[in-house]
């Protein structure tokens, strides 16, 4: 909005003042991050008290891990504050006509809405095991994935036509695949997997938020590079005109996450709930698709993939088919706790792993 107001000002007024700084993505990104941090820090305490009074607290599931019982009664749905801060910050500092941004914000709201519905259903049932069904979640997420593919296939797509169905992999300059038959199912599966992977990872205080910051931060760098003709040409990336605006949204997300971590660090005063974790997952998945970095996510989001894989493999293959555990516990963070690591130690160690994966992902920018 500020960007919009600035664009309406007479040219001589714009260029003669500090408002010309709003032309720079970097300035707007920092402003968006700071706005989101401040909004989250200001709104979360009030939201916590509101949630406590309404009794919207964690309906603890018995996961067999002792520390899980400490968390009963903690307010949930903190993700509402998180994505509200991102939305407000984006509305203030982003170019609202940018189609990349609109697709991303829609993804965040859609997935956040699914998560919110799940949280409210669990609260009404007074049970962490009785949210909306897995099938309902998958159908709703699938609808988004299908809609995203539909948008990418039409003139509404923010992507250039030449890159509509290309699949890039790290270290290779040319796309690995450019197929209208292969690309859609890959992206569909990708959005479904990533959308839920963050949800599975969000099991310990602060565990999902910092790796998400790393992932979104790295994707923001890619957005800046791929939206800039000079950098894209120099680094042999496809030029995606307008994609640079996504760095402002990524900065807003990073700021909101940092602000939320203030309250979510152990022992958490509020959880993000499915409203937050699904919103984050949907955001990350959509960002990766828009920036043609689906394959990079295997490295960048390796932590989320490991968590999702261990959880699903344990449940679908081990428990339901073989009648035994494959891993000591699942997902990964529960396995680490089962081996005798304190929750805080597990969280920090997994942050370190996520940080290392982010650094390796950044290294792929030049190793091509």
């Amino acid at each position: 909005m500020i960007h919009l107001l600035d664009s309406l000002l007479p040219a001589h007024f714009h260029s003669g003042t500090y408002l010309r700084l709003l032309d720079y993505l970097s300035v707007r990104a920092i402003a968006a991050a700071m706005t989101a941090i401040l909004l989250t820090l200001a709104a979360t305490p009030r939201f916590i008290w509101y949630i406590q009074r309404r009794g919207l607290v964690d309906q603890c599931r018995d996961t067999g891990v002792p520390s899980a019982s400490d968390k009963a009664g903690t307010p949930v749905m903190g993700g509402v504050v998180l994505f509200a801060s991102v939305l407000v910050s984006c509305l203030l500092w982003c170019q609202l006509s940018n189609r990349y941004l609109l697709v991303l914000l829609f993804a965040m709201v859609w997935f956040g809405g699914i998560g919110l519905w799940d949280d409210v259903t669990k609260w009404r049932a007074r049970s962490g095991n009785h949210g909306i069904s897995e099938r309902q979640k998958l159908v709703l997420q699938g609808l988004f994935a299908a809609a995203l593919l539909g948008v990418l296939a039409t003139r509404l797509s923010p992507l250039p036509a030449r890159d509509a169905v290309t699949l890039y992999v790290p270290f290779l300059k040319a796309p690995l695949v450019a197929s209208a038959w292969l690309y859609p199912p890959v992206v569909f599966a990708f959005v479904m997997l990533v959308g839920n992977a963050v949800n599975i990872t969000d099991g310990l205080d602060g565990l999902a938020i910092v790796p998400s910051v790393f992932v979104v931060g790295v994707l923001g760098m890619f957005a800046y590079i791929m939206g800039n003709a000079i950098w894209a040409h120099y680094l042999f990336y496809p030029l995606l005109p307008g994609a640079g605006e996504l760095i402002v949204a990524c900065a807003a997300f990073t700021g909101a996450s940092i602000g939320f971590l203030w309250f979510n660090a152990y022992p958490a005063q509020i959880f993000m709930g499915d409203a937050g974790s699904l919103a984050i997952g949907g955001t990350i998945a959509t960002l990766s698709v828009l920036l043609k970095q689906e394959a990079l996510f295997i490295l960048l989001g390796g932590l989320f993939i490991a968590e999702a894989f261990t959880s699903q493999f344990q449940e679908k293959v081990g428990v339901r088919w073989l009648g035994r555990r494959i891993f000591a516990r699942a997902p990964l963070h529960h396995s680490m706790q089962h081996r005798g690591l304190a929750e805080t130690k597990v969280v920090v160690r997994l942050w370190i792993v996520a940080g290392i994966l982010a650094l390796l992902s950044i290294a792929t920018i030049k190793l091509r």
Binding site: L322, R324, L341, A342
Partner: protein, 210 residues
Amino acid sequence: NLGVKLLGLLQSREHAPALARMIVDRTPAGLIARCLGGDFRQVGFIRRNALTALARLGAVSEEIEQALVVALADPYYEARAEAARTAATLAESLATRRAEVLDALERCTRGKSIEVAAAAAEALGAVGEGERAVHALVGLAEARFWKVRAAALVGLLRLVQRHKCGDVAAVERAIRRFVLTSTDFQPQFQIKRTYGLLLAAIDAEKGSPR
């Protein structure tokens, strides 16, 4: 699986031999299941829960002791851990195969699985006696994982409480070797603790437990 659990909960002692047979049944699972980590037709959860049921039943016979010895060498770690816990529960009733159970428990304490080693260490305290048991448990003083060291201390505690530890002074000297650092802790939330005490006091005042 549900039936096995119910047999224990419903105290169906006449089915104890059937549970023992399920535990020792080594009919292999299908090829695809074995490729993915499966082992026997009576899957790991069944064998584990059958052991839990036997512990609940509390009945001991030659067949059950034999099943316990076999279970302590089970390829599935949860079954071995549960076998150790069952041995601890049935400790006082073990007769003919007590020595074999002790040997198996000692082997389990030296295994790779943390859960099994810890369960076996605690069980040694309930089943074992004298210098042999003390020696096996003190041998875990510098075990790599704190859970195993903690379980060894629990085992020693049980030996001392049962008056089966032999020379108490020697035990006191030996436990100084134990590495007491750990990578986990139990948080204590003062406000929740006080709230719980207040609820208990109110219940006591009302004369009805919560």
